[in-house]
């Protein structure tokens, strides 16, 4: 078996086996709550490739994108400011520790009070949850700039904006990306919850409607869609990360030898 073929087999083997097992185990199912996989897949096609795509799925993703982007900007800006100033950091640390320990979903009822159940609330929920990992990881990344690198910049008189760009941000970028990844997971959770909890449209809302209306195969298909979305977003993130942090993966690979 050639190396490529072997690798391909390993990638596909277990998932294929699991899917096949699921298919056959559920094939003759008469359990109302556990329909056959074939029905779920059929429902998937019917449900999600019609108007729902534009009416529910895309707006949900758009809100996620907007909230996530805002959280990145706010988190990195505040994080850099806090990370660079030891006094600011010491002052804000207990407050931040507390605010970040509040589980983000808990803010949904609060934000519903403040902003109703429209788009604003949903985006605010996502921002308020995603900003913390980005902020805290940015602070860590900025704090841990290498001392020799900082001295080099000082002795070559690289200051101000140039120093911020070339030294601080890039040095902190691996840590910032870690925060961004955690923020993405939280963002997806919040996107779904804000719609499940109280909403009139959106992906989460639609799935909950199916659940309440006992449209079980459609519900399962929704769950499947959420899973696929999670995976797809994760892949996109990985691709972007590899471009931005190519140097970092390289240096770690070398160090590990």
């Amino acid at each position: 078996m050639t190396a490529a073929l072997r690798r391909a087999t390993l990638v596909v083997a277990l998932p294929a086996a699991l899917l096949t097992a699921w298919w056959f185990a559920s094939a003759g199912s008469t359990d109302f709550y556990r329909p056959p996989l074939s029905r779920i897949l059929a429902a998937f096609g019917e449900t999600w490739f019609g108007p729902r795509l534009v009416d529910d799925v895309l707006p949900s993703l758009a809100r996620l994108g907007l909230g996530y982007a805002m959280a990145l900007v706010i988190g990195v800006t505040l994080g850099v400011a806090t990370g660079l100033s030891p006094r600011l950091r010491a002052t804000l640390e207990p407050v931040l520790e507390f605010l970040r320990a509040v589980p983000p979903p808990v803010l949904v009822p609060i934000l519903i009070l403040v902003a109703g159940i429209g788009n604003t609330m949903k985006v605010l929920v996502i921002v308020s949850g995603c900003v913390w990992p980005v902020l805290l990881n940015t602070v860590e990344g900025v704090r841990n700039v290498d001392g020799v690198l900082a001295d080099t910049c000082r002795s070559y008189r690289i200051r101000g904006q140039a120093r911020l760009r070339h030294l601080v941000l890039r040095s902190a970028s691996p840590q910032i990306v870690t925060g961004a990844r955690q923020a993405l997971s939280i963002g997806i959770i919040l996107m779904v919850i804000s719609e499940m909890f109280a909403a009139s449209s959106g992906l989460g809302f639609t799935i909950v409607q199916f659940q309440r209306g006992f449209a079980i195969p459609e519900m399962w298909s929704g769950v499947l869609l959420l899973g696929l979305l999670g995976v797809a977003l994760s892949v996109v993130f990985r691709v972007v990360e590899h471009r931005v942090l190519g140097w970092y993966h390289g240096i770690r690979a070398v160090q590990r030898q």
Binding site: Y33, P103, P109, V142, T178, I193, V223, G230
Partner: protein
């Protein structure tokens, strides 16, 4: 020789004082803003009223039951996730074939958001603790598993060959080589899992209605008891802080022997 890390703060006493100032400033802001009419009191009651509601809650049995429920769900879910994560992580990590065969499945299942399972568990288990527990275990498990896999992969090849050349058997190697190398990663995984577990616990209680603080918050919100709702949010924040402190303390204790506490592997 060099400056080391940039941005040292100075004497610890000064830092504590600054931190306290920050906390007090924050509380003062939350007290004055509603009173001054900057923020509508309906949405954001002043701190004093929140604290009063909190004290009132603390006198009720219902509150403590909910707190205990949340704590129990969190701890149970976390424990299951950690045990399963470590066991599977070491098992899979130790065998290259298993690693390679499961890699694609893990990479696929891991990013699936737990909340996607909410409709499923509601339909299958109803509004009970079990539903939330499924969410918690599912989310926390992956955090632990991935970190442990990284830990096992991080074994120094030179150390491994030394162990082999001294003819250490499989179990001896696990005990003296695999476990100590993977332990810091496992602790990182526990820390991440603890935080995720709390989030999912509260989420489950909030959305599904399992017993716990989350459900109390939902109830307070629908009945318009705003100060009570904020008081409960405050409590969940404190629970979160407590959970963080506990896991960080455990990490420090368990890793006291370790020369360096590793940074999170960006996963």
């Amino acid at each position: 020789m060099t400056a080391g890390k940039t941005g040292r703060t100075g004497k610890p006493a000064g830092r504590v004082r600054l931190g306290l100032a920050g906390l007090l400033g924050f509380a003062a802001l939350l007290e004055l803003a509603p009173r001054a009419g900057v923020v509508p009191e309906r949405y954001a009651p002043p701190t004093s009223r929140i604290v009063a509601a909190l004290v009132e809650q603390a006198g009720e049995q219902r509150f403590w039951t909910a707190l205990a429920d949340t704590a129990r769900t969190w701890a149970t879910g976390l424990a299951i996730a950690v045990v399963a994560g470590v066991a599977l992580g070491v098992l899979i990590g130790a065998t290259p074939l298993l690693r390679a065969a499961t890699a694609s499945t893990i990479e696929f299942l891991r990013p699936i958001p737990s909340v996607a399972l909410i409709p499923l568990v509601v339909v299958l288990y109803g509004a009970t603790r079990s539903s939330t527990l499924v969410l918690v275990v599912y989310a926390a498990f992956w955090q632990v598993l991935v970190q442990v896999l990284h830990g096992v992969a991080d074994i120094d090849p030179v150390a491994r060959e030394t162990a082999l050349s001294y003819r250490l058997g499989r179990w001896a190697r696990v005990r003296w080589l695999v476990w100590p190398t993977a332990l810091p990663y496992a602790m990182t995984g526990v820390r991440l899992a603890a935080s995720v577990a709390l989030i999912l616990t509260i989420t489950g209680e909030l959305v599904i209605g399992s017993p716990g603080l989350g459900r109390e918050i939902a109830v307070a919100q629908t009945s318009g008891a705003v100060p009570q709702m904020y008081a409960l949010v405050l409590v969940t924040g404190l629970v979160g802080v407590a959970a963080n402190l506990v896991t960080r303390g455990a990490e420090r204790r368990v890793l006291a022997w370790h020369p360096s506490v590793r940074a999170e592997v960006p996963v």
